[in-house]
Symmetry: C2
Amino acid sequence: MAVLTPRATDFPRWYQDVLAKAELADNGPVRGTMVIRPYGYALWERMQADVDARIKAAGAVNAYFPLFIPESYLRREAEHVEGFSPELAVVTIGGGKELEEPVVVRPTSETVIGEYLAKWTQSYRDLPLLLNQWANVVRWELRPRLFLRSSEFLWQEGHTAHADEADAAAYARRIAREVYRDFLTDVLAIPVFVGAKTRRERFAGATNTVTCEGMMGDGKALQMATSHELGQNFARAFDIDFLGADGARHLAWTTSWGCSTRMVGGLIMAHGDDNGLRIPPRLAPTQVVVLPVRDDDAVVAAARELATALTAAGVRTQLDARPGLSFGRRVTDAEIKGIPVRVEVGPRDLAAGNATLARRDNSTKSPVALAEVSTRVPALLDEVQAALFAEALELRESRTADVGTLADAAAAAQTGFARIPWRLVGEEGEARLTQDALSIRCLQTPDGAVPAAGDQGDDLVALVARSY
Amino acid sequence: MAVLTPRATDFPRWYQDVLAKAELADNGPVRGTMVIRPYGYALWERMQADVDARIKAAGAVNAYFPLFIPESYLRREAEHVEGFSPELAVVTIGGGKELEEPVVVRPTSETVIGEYLAKWTQSYRDLPLLLNQWANVVRWELRPRLFLRSSEFLWQEGHTAHADEADAAAYARRIAREVYRDFLTDVLAIPVFVGAKTRRERFAGATNTVTCEGMMGDGKALQMATSHELGQNFARAFDIDFLGADGARHLAWTTSWGCSTRMVGGLIMAHGDDNGLRIPPRLAPTQVVVLPVRDDDAVVAAARELATALTAAGVRTQLDARPGLSFGRRVTDAEIKGIPVRVEVGPRDLAAGNATLARRDNSTKSPVALAEVSTRVPALLDEVQAALFAEALELRESRTADVGTLADAAAAAQTGFARIPWRLVGEEGEARLTQDALSIRCLQTPDGAVPAAGDQGDDLVALVARSY
């Protein structure tokens, strides 16, 4: 029952089909906006909770800054306004009147937060000042795509001020590693390359942008989260200065970093298969669905008992005994929604004192004694989590080629990532790649580390790919 | 040390002082917008988590709908557009171009959600459809006031569709009771009158608005949450219909309900005193602060040990041993921030094997053996929670008067609430009250229940007050 377009036939169409059939999202009425449906939102909500805990563990606290930013704020940082101007939504009427100064709907909040960092940063004792906010932002999109590129999206944006450059850089990298990379690999089961953006791809106003790049099922790259060293660019524009221990005033060094609902798109494309989503168990809002094979009292009662035992064992469990829906239909639904494990119970299972455990990731089934379901399932969920990561890593390894010429990079990037010495590309080569709809996703040092701001060293390695 | 204007001197000024000194919020750069600072946001975050759990327990699921609404959507429900038009922020430029149809920044989402309820409501089996979203909304404010009335605020808005009127009404009331009233009383420790708004005060487009009205420290009322029965008004405007079990198509009945960051303002004004906030323990981000009286190694070590033991006992605890800040300064800070209990340890306490427990709500202090701190504190937090509620209830009872004439109602409402038979007021009397800046906060049946939609019965009781 091919309810979805096969990925090999048309990957973008498959993506749209999954969004619709798994009831993840819908187009909003205003071009480029998106309605996140309950199941899509449940995925985001769990991402949010996990990332939020990691951000707090890294010492930042949540706050909230206004949606509306005076247009003049954006103009204070030259590169920033140039980067964002074409994407702005502008409010010109408020309370029935033309506004004297139009206000911009935030595309990101460096400017408005900069204004307050300046207010709150008086002495070196106030530093580092580590803030985060969960918010919606708006960037007018000409070619919108649900979750991946929408005119409005949800995200967190961290904004910090530090006494010196080294502390700012170390914190931006800590966030990239301990919040983003660890979350993406340990929870979303998506391996990522962590590196620095080239000058061309850098965030508007940053001196260094650290990025986490994942590979999707079609071999394209997706930028999944970024962390920016902003140098003193915003500190200068917004007078974020402080009285140092030396009694003199100094400009602060700032950072900003974010991840968004785009990760939902990445989750779909990194793990999805021709039967639908495959959600890693650590993220899954529902880890296990218990399915009675028949609408039969004894079977449904046994299924209900299993669901209760699983819930008691700390497994996020749902019982799907919807009347009027065939077993096959309920299985298909669980598959499309990517629920990691199904526990199926039929009269024959019951007669043998068993249930059947069905894994979503590799479609294997195995019988298990009823009494052992609630101890076996947690271990099985760990296996599924590990298997999804291993599979994604294997895909990436098999589709990443080390090459020695720009032409070979362009060829390899048609199906995956090409790794090429940066000195063989350079800014001119990079410009040429864009003509083939390719880009440098990031630069790494030879040992895979993130280059420092301004590092254009001869030994850097560039990762070339098609991308979302 | 009067860091705050006394409440009796100037209540609004006291409110502003608390916002600043407790570092709760600041004005945004665009008129009427607000910056919620980390401590203010921590209060909101905890409100959010608790209300969210109650909403989920009531069966609703979270989703997210776009910030931008086509102007034409608002016009489909006549009362609704009339109610909200004067407060709208309108985007006329997007992506550098004048938009063909201006879009409105959502003041509330009945219209855009109505469009999707219509799509998703096909058969009676799809009903009830119970959605909620956490979002920012914008209503241009001419007289903004942080948390109470800001041009942008954060809230949740629930939107549901039902097969019949009784089910819709029952659900709207269930939300008012089990989510709002229970949260406000059990967590925020604020007693509320639950009643129905008069036609004049009703939500634009509703057939019945159920409200929770709290009394603030100055005797004014604050509308803390509302739940609306929308009849078939939005169902008609957005074609929310369904195929009934009878094979015919029927219009659905919808509800909407919300509570917002305004509750933070209510929390401040219901419990705050001349020394600052008083946060009920169940809400408090920090329930206990442990304060070493002196910067002395043995004392700080003992304080640290107590903080560890309290944290282990499940108490949200902070150690405040900031060097360079006197004990008095740290006490004042804990008082302003309203931390329910302080555990103070000095050399003399230590010598006696004791610590001192200081309650924020009534300023009493008592010694406790060091070994008993972590068992005594949880019980003490419960006492503080109950005492704050009792005090708020006593204030309300002492300032609520039963009266028999409109003149007496107007007089009593200068300092609190007046309860008067609705038949002695009527819509004409209500109009007169507004000339004295008074309003009917809600109508109740004689036994304190919520009147049904359209109930104008002679036995209803009106609650008159000044309000925020």
